[in-house]
């Protein structure tokens, strides 16, 4: 019990606090008051029902980005392509949203699925290359990020097929139809509820389904999985496709629930946020929700922080880097707290070992 408490509560909390302290030092160096900065951040994230709604909105794609990374981890795969998959999901959901005329009950889920599938295609490509050609997914997914960014840029650019005819020189898609838009109930964005439901579903698939068992088996020992009759190729492709589907779904919710259309270059860096969140949550699908809320709150509060103190929002990625480092290095946290007991493994993922000769 104590060990569980240390791994699941103490380690993440210390990592977050230490990350914030490191961020405060940077803010001091750049000549601002960290208390004012963090005060602005907290008020901007939780200070009003508007702020709270914004935090939930920001947390939504982060939940799905975190789930995408966490799910791939289960198969021993590292999906850094969340950013590109999200862009594809956002662009294709926008297309399904503005180009089709359907009743709301069909239109909303259809556009969400179209967005998810667009991401899944890129994930499947990376999975297939990994399984059949041995091309490491870290490199392919990052390369595909650049491909996706260019492709979605083009789709809504001057010569692209999905350009809003009324936007002049601005590259963007038309607004999605009302029947495809995810509503807000009071301050509560419905997209957030979708993300929470998806997190629960992912938890079920990972922990209770045959597929989840096969994926974990491949992730832990591909040779044993082959011996047990599980096709490593199939599981690698399926796991990458599902992981990328989740990231694409995050983009679709962003389009249908927040932006209302696709505009290139929004929300850059989400792919990396997903890594921090997945590891902070120790790759547990349900724990992804609070981890994403934390990062989402920092994100939502950064605007007010910047207007009060001139601290640029990039401070968040530095804080996140520190958090990621500490979560992955429990021995440092142990040293910080002068703990004598072992704090347990940090991340329960093993990615780098698959890099060398098999």
């Amino acid at each position: 019990m104590r060990a569980v408490w240390r791994q699941w509560v103490l380690l993440p909390v210390v990592a977050v606090v230490a990350g914030l302290v490191a961020g405060a030092l940077l803010i001091l160096i750049s000549g601002d008051n960290p208390l004012t900065a963090y005060g602005g951040m907290i008020e901007g994230a939780f200070g009003s029902s508007d702020a709270l709604g914004r935090t939930l909105e920001k947390a939504t794609p982060l939940i799905l980005g975190g789930l995408a990374v966490a799910f791939a981890f289960k198969a021993g795969l590292f999906n850094i392509g969340g950013q590109g998959q999200l862009l594809l999901g956002a662009a294709f959901a926008a297309w399904a949203g503005f180009d089709l005329a359907l009743p709301t009950v069909l239109h909303i889920p259809l556009a969400l699925v179209v967005g998810g599938l667009a991401g899944a295609v890129f994930g499947a490509i990376a999975g297939l290359l990994k399984a059949t050609r041995g091309t490491h997914e870290v490199i392919t997914t990052i390369m595909l990020n650049f491909v996706a960014a260019n492709l979605t840029d083009w789709l809504v650019s001057r010569d692209g097929p999905w350009k809003d005819p009324d936007s002049g020189a601005v590259a963007r898609s038309p607004h999605v139809a009302d029947s495809a838009a995810l509503p807000r109930w009071g301050f509560l964005p419905v997209g957030f509820l979708v993300a929470v439901a998806v997190a629960a579903a992912v938890w079920w698939v990972v922990n209770r389904s045959v597929l989840g068992f096969e994926i974990s088996t491949v992730g832990q020992n591909a040779r044993a999985a082959t011996y047990a009759g599980i096709s490593v190729v199939r599981i690698t492709v399926v796991a990458m496709a599902i992981s990328a589907f989740l990231a694409g779904l995050g983009g679709a919710i962003q389009t249908q629930g927040v932006n209302g259309r696709f505009e290139p270059g929004f929300n850059s860096g989400l792919g990396f946020d997903g890594i921090t969140i997945a590891l902070l949550a120790r790759t547990n699908a349900l724990a992804v929700i609070p981890a994403a809320l934390l990062i989402g709150a920092m994100d939502a509060g950064s605007t007010l922080m910047q207007s009060r103190t001139d601290v640029p929002p990039e401070i968040i990625s530095v804080i996140q880097g520190f958090i990621l480092f500490l979560v992955a290095a429990p021995s440092v946290v142990r040293w910080l707290l002068r703990l004598r007991q072992d704090i347990g493994v940090g991340t329960n993922v093993d990615l780098a070992a698959g890099w060398g000769a098999k």
Binding site: L26, S30, F78, I80, L129, R133, G134, T135, H136, V138, I139, T140, I142, M143, L144, N145, F146, V147, N150, L151, D153, W154, S157, D159, G160, G269, F272, I275, T276, L279, P312, E314, I315, I316, S317, V318, Q320, G321, F322, L324, F325, A328, A329, S331, V332, G346, T347, V349, D350, L351, A352, A353, G354, W355, G356, A357
Partner: protein, 348 residues
Amino acid sequence: MAATSTPTTPARSSRDDAVSRAASVLADNRAGVAIGIAVVVLALASYQWDGVQTTAITARTVREAAPLILAALCGLIGERSGVVNIGIEGQMLLGAYSGFMAASYSGSLLVGLVAAVGVAALAGLFLAWAAVALRMDQIIAGTVINIVGAGATSFFYVAGRTMPRFPQWSIPGLDDLPLVGRTLFNHGPLTYTAVLMVLVIHVALFHTRWGLRTRAVGEHPGAADTVGVRIQRLRYVNLTLAGGLSGLAGMALLQSAGAFDRGMTAGRGFIALAVMIFGRWRPTGVLGAALLFGLFNAVQAQLQFKQALDVPPQFFGMIPFILTIAVLAVAGVKARPPAAAGRPYDPE
């Protein structure tokens, strides 16, 4: 697998030996030699057709290759010592930023160079500490470098600063040869440095005691340990030195761009890993692979600049990335990384 064994014949003159060695090197690198010949023939043919544009492309190829060579050598030393470095992108950004700011404030490129190499070497030291002492997953450790590198250089970014211009060194007598002169003998200092580093690291890796130890540590640390190689110390030293190379790569980016910009690496740290794999973890292979990637980029940029084809610019923008994936998918199957790359060494 390409067969590397040559039949052993007793007592041959050293000249015969050199010839047969050269022949076996060529036989081992058939694909590379074929691509090289094809590129040279194409360049010569294209030069007859349009000299100015061809020279522009070949010169740009070499210029674009320089940061890739240096970054790929950084990855190569890491993996040869048994540590995967996915954080080259972040190291290059940190190096380029530090180099730019130091050069901008001091007015001296040399001060910038020292700052770039120093800061990037520190990032390499961090990777070694995380991988060796903390036994952190190496891919996550590299990702930390990437996140902090991108975040910190954006956080401290100052718009509107300038740095001194890099000199252009032309080699007298050689630089006005047709095609070859502009291509090879008229570049900034870091381009020459990149080529020099290929030679230095090739000799160091395959012809010195340090190189033998490094390769042993990357392939079979247990065996190296039993003969007294201090594995962990060697990994610290090598990753720090390799970090310095990524700092040089950052300076090479500044040499082309003239100023620091947020995210100016634009994926080159990852393309460098593809270059390293395509170059089969050898410095000379890295040189060839980086030139090939440089050529993709140069052709892409020239076509886009001239608007030679009626294709949207985004499609040109995708070319280097799609080619990276294609090259890895085709070449990766045969590639065999150093056996211990990615695994922390456990002395017990």
